[in-house]
């Protein structure tokens, strides 16, 4: 029974397209996150939501728009994809902000 699940696992698309990544957690946590791991393996926070409310919005281009329909879901929509968006995107959830439970990642490749 997966705690944090994200789909799709792999996403290959052309520049300029719009794509979404979905995330769901069944842990009952109040806070959900999106992290990005780039080619240099830096794992950086992009957004955090607490009970559907945006808490953290790092310096991410506004082509990235998170949406949280309820506290168990946090989706990431990306408009006008660029080559530099290629990365692994991890969804996570937490109750205390310290111990994060991560999904298995979505590898996005923009061609």
């Amino acid at each position: 029974d997966t705690a944090v699940s994200q789909t799709p696992k792999y996403l290959v698309t052309q520049m300029g397209n719009d794509k979404s990544i979905k995330c769901e957690q069944n842990l009952g946590h109040d806070t959900m996150y999106w992290y990005k791991q780039d080619s240099k393996k830096f794992l950086k926070i992009m957004f955090s939501y607490n009970n559907k409310e945006l808490i953290i919005n790092e310096t991410v281009p506004n082509r990235f728009s998170p949406k949280s329909p309820d506290k168990a879901h946090l989706n990431l929509h990306i408009n006008s994809l660029e080559l530099g968006d290629s990365a692994v995107y991890f969804c996570a959830s937490s109750q205390d902000g310290e111990k994060l439970f991560f999904g298995s990642g979505t590898q996005l490749s923009v061609l």
Binding site: V4, K41, F42, L43, G97, E98
Partner: protein, 113 residues
């Protein structure tokens, strides 16, 4: 500006020996530190943590040491097992910003028989 640094990208250790993974940080406002472990094609999983009021925390084979004056922490795994082979990320938090974990770039540990 990288506030959490893991200067060793990889480490190879024989099974049964001690593995020591190191982490340095630059921001003195960090007051909580964590280690995460990551297997290929999986997300990181929480391993062990330490508060800045302590200098050591132990959990089974895993011990984390914190040297605040040196802004340095280390993870000791003893004895190392082949199943410990993974990428280990150090992470740090500031009390006033508990939603923002800052990660290092990871150290790949390989434990060989």
């Amino acid at each position: 500006d990288q506030q959490v640094k893991q200067n060793s990208p990889s480490l190879s250790v024989q099974e049964g020996r001690i593995s020591i993974l190191n982490c340095d940080y630059t921001n003195s406002m960090f007051d909580y530190f964590l280690w995460y472990k990551k297997y290929p094609a999986e997300g990181p999983t929480f391993l062990i943590s330490i508060s800045s009021i302590k200098d050591k925390n132990e959990d089974g084979r895993f011990t984390v040491f914190l040297n605040k004056s040196a802004k340095h922490l280390s993870l000791h795994i003893v004895p190392s097992q082949p199943g410990d082979s993974a990428v280990y990320f150090c992470a740090a938090l500031m009390e006033y910003n508990t939603d923002k974990l800052i990660f290092g770039t990871g150290t790949r540990l390989q434990v060989f028989p």
